[in-house]
């Protein structure tokens, strides 16, 4: 290679390096949604109520040209990680979609979400139209940080009416009735309960309900308040003993540890007649409606509240699940963005057409005085049942994995998985969970 060629090569290499350096520094400083020319932004989830959200924002933007809100949709799991990074980096959208509970509290502690109490006081309709038990999940330390934006999601017991007719049984109202059904279904080679064990969070529903039925809401309140040894409460130990009795009696579908809720395999077991019952959130109904409409139109799907536990201290009318999803406003929003967001929360969220859209999709929004509307909907029986259940509940417990800190939630799901597989005893479960208190 001649010297001249080599020089020009060096120049080229230098140029390449310079371009690289520029592009590298540009890549590190990419802009987030926060700096988009002052316009308010929102991030929401795909699937579920996506259509309601889309049409709501479209309506809002066409009616309020001066205060448009730019909305983007993300998949559930991807969103949960993306939003946390964005909030931590001060790049959150104006409207933050959330679940309330522990994660909302961590945002509040980090000073990343705005206190909405002044807005709520100035404009009482912001709050007064919602059911109080649902609003609670958006209140931290007496201040309002989040307002509901979709349907209530209580957990209940679904059952296959055909299979119950075959063995001539009634759906279980109490725990002993549930236990008595197990051998009857097993004798016919039908799994008594469907369970998506691979997804882990469905296991939590049994734990939440049994602990509440046995000990009332106080037991979990102690856990959430990080009281030492709160997981060793007799109610937790007994609930876990009852869970293992259920497992050992063959209550759950064989191989439940590899049944996956993301693919709705658990629901498929129920509507294909392989399993007789399933404890699941109210979102199971719209899912079954899309996957197997005949099962619902044929009147084969039954539903009752989670069984009562005789002798337990808890109120059998208590409900566990997700009270709703919520909107919070980023503390980093500009005054204009914040104004647009509050205006949207006041007039755009859960207004007439919004509620209609949720009800049509099979959801029950946490709004007062909904009975006449539900009676006219396409699934009046089911929707009224959910509405009554959630409205009359003395206590609506937010799912523990959302109510606790993320570190505790992860340990809880892992240890529940082991408990259901008989890999640990109830005492070992309590010990392992006590070690996570305060994390």
């Amino acid at each position: 290679m001649s010297l001249r060629n080599f020089r020009s090569l060096r120049v080229t290499a230098g140029l390449v390096a310079a371009v690289l350096a520029v592009s590298l520094s540009a890549a590190c400083g990419s802009s987030g949604p926060g700096d988009r020319a002052g316009q308010a932004t929102a991030w929401a989830l795909t699937g579920g109520d996506e259509r309601t959200f889309r049409s709501s924002f479209q309506q809002w933007n066409s009616g309020h040209g001066g205060q448009p809100i730019d909305v983007q949709f993300f998949q559930n799991d991807a969103y949960k990680q993306k939003i946390r990074t964005a909030v931590g980096a001060g790049q959150a959208p104006t409207l933050i979609f959330g679940w309330g509970g522990g994660i909302l509290k961590s945002y509040v502690d980090a000073g990343q979400v705005a206190d909405l109490t002044p807005d709520v006081t100035a404009n009482p309709t912001l709050k007064s139209r919602y059911l109080p038990s649902v609003l609670d999940s958006g209140v931290i330390g007496g201040k309002t940080y989040a307002l509901p934006n979709n349907a209530m999601q209580p957990v209940l017991l679904y059952y296959n009416k055909d299979l119950f007719r075959q063995i001539g049984a009634q759906p279980p109202k109490t725990w002993p009735e549930l236990l008595a059904l197990i051998p009857k279904f097993n004798a016919r080679n039908i799994a008594p309960l469907s369970l998506a064990g691979q997804s882990k969070w469905p296991l939590l529903m049994y734990e939440e309900y049994l602990v509440d039925r046995l000990g009332g809401p106080r037991v979990f309140d102690d856990i959430a308040a990080n009281k030492p040894n709160a997981w060793s409460d007799p109610a937790v130990l007994q609930a876990n003993t009852m869970i293992q009795q259920l497992v050992n009696a063959g209550a759950f579908v064989k191989n439940f540890a590899s049944v996956d809720a993301d693919s709705n395999a658990d629901l498929a077991l129920l509507y294909t007649g392989k399993a007789a019952m399933e404890v699941m959130g109210s979102w199971a109904y719209p899912s079954i409606k899309t996957q197997n409409p005949q099962f619902i139109s044929g009147g084969k799907l039954g539903y009752v509240a989670f069984p009562a536990v005789p002798g337990g201290k808890g109120d059998p009318a208590d409900v566990a699940g997700n009270p709703a999803n919520f909107w919070s406003i980023s503390a980093k929003a500009t005054p204009e963005q914040r104004k647009a967001a509050v205006a949207y929360l006041t007039d755009g969220v859960l207004n007439q057409s919004y509620v209609d859209s949720l009800v049509t999709g099979g959801g029950v929004p946490p709004v007062a005085g909904l009975e006449p509307k539900l009676a006219k909907a396409s699934d009046p029986g089911y929707l009224s049942f959910i509405y009554g259940m959630a409205r009359q509940a003395p206590h609506f417990q937010l799912s523990w994995d959302q109510a606790l800190s993320p570190a505790q939630a992860d340990a809880l799901l892992t240890n529940l998985g082991k408990l259901f597989l008989n890999q640990i005893t109830p005492a070992q479960f309590s010990a392992a969970m006590n070690a996570t208190i305060g994390k």
């Binding site: 290499a13 690289l20 590298l24 931590g88 990343q112 691979q198 064989k254 590899s258 998985g417 082991k418």
Partner: protein, 296 residues
């Protein structure tokens, strides 16, 4: 030493400036993050707010946590069993596809097919096939095991899926290696009366020495970072029966939001990878790179 280094560089080969782009990339995307991770492992940070110094709390926490111990043990198991499964299979397949048999090209295409798929797609496919209620086990009762739900089986299912994904790549390495071996070696061996087995044992295997080292290094170091496939296939479950170290790091960081502890696990992973690859190249004489074809 009369000639200044500058002149020598100009005449003796490309200057050091050629390494600048690569070094810039390496610094920005490897050295800086690594340093940040080491610093983060000494802090408590939940991804929000400001990180706070905690000294060695994360390290003592991670090292005394039984979940970490279990994760390390599982990772070692995955590493060793993966190597034991993948090496012979890809060595034989590679030797076979390097030959000139009839239909070889067709079969080679089939063998290399998994190479085209992303780990997530492979995991979803395996999940569907192994579903105990709606999957393959219903069609072939012999395969009716609770593959992904049994704590004793799940790790081997994961290892099988990993092998299915990576054997084609290593086959490709061995195929290239075998094709580099001079035909004269085989011809003279054939004249001396060596059969196929003897040719493989005494010519192919020794000649592939450095290919084996490369492939093994990639396999062993790579198995430290297996994550995507396991994450989608099992999520670490049931319980923590398939929660290998890389997955443990991810869950600690992005599900538990404990960036400090996750960083400590990341440092352990990086250190293990470094020691492993350095050790392997040293032990095997790979770093000296002597020719294997003297006299050929």
């Amino acid at each position: 030493m009369t000639a200044p280094p500058r002149v020598r560089a100009r005449h003796g080969g490309p200057t050091i400036w050629f390494t600048v782009p690569a070094l810039a990339f390496f610094t920005v995307f490897a050295i800086v993050p690594l340093a940040v991770v080491v610093v983060l492992s000494l802090m408590r940070w939940d991804g929000l707010g400001t990180p706070a110094w905690t000294g060695l709390t994360n390290w003592t926490g991670v090292l005394s946590d039984p979940v970490t111990g279990n994760a390390i043990w599982l990772t070692v198991k995955v590493m060793v069993v993966s190597w034991l499964v993948q090496t012979p299979v890809s060595l034989l397949l590679g030797t076979f596809t390097a030959g000139r048999q009839r239909y070889r090209a067709v079969l080679a295409v089939l063998y290399f097919l998994p190479l085209l798929m992303s780990a997530a797609a492979i995991a979803i496919a395996f999940k569907a096939v192994l579903d105990p209620n709606f999957g393959l086990s219903k069609a072939i009762p012999l395969l009716g095991q609770d593959w992904l739900g049994s704590p004793d089986l799940v790790l081997y299912v994961v290892i099988f899926a990993i092998a299915w994904q990576f054997v084609p790549f290593h086959t490709l390495l061995y195929q290239a290696g075998v094709r580099q071996i001079p035909a004269a070696l085989y011809e003279s061996a054939a004249i001396d009366g060596a059969g196929r087995v003897n040719q493989f044992l005494h010519i192919t295997l020794p000649q592939l020495r450095y290919t084996i080292v490369t492939s093994s290094t990639l396999m062993l170091v790579g198995s430290l970072t297996y994550f995507d496939l396991v994450f989608v296939l099992t999520g670490g479950g049931p319980g923590d029966s398939s929660r290998i170290l890389a997955l443990h790091m991810y869950i600690t960081g992005f599900a538990s939001n404990d960036m400090g502890r996750a960083s400590a696990i990341a440092v352990i992973l990086a250190a293990a990878g470094l020691v492993l690859s350095l050790g392997l190249t040293r032990l095997s004489g790979f770093s000296r790179m002597r020719s294997q074809q003297e006299g050929a």
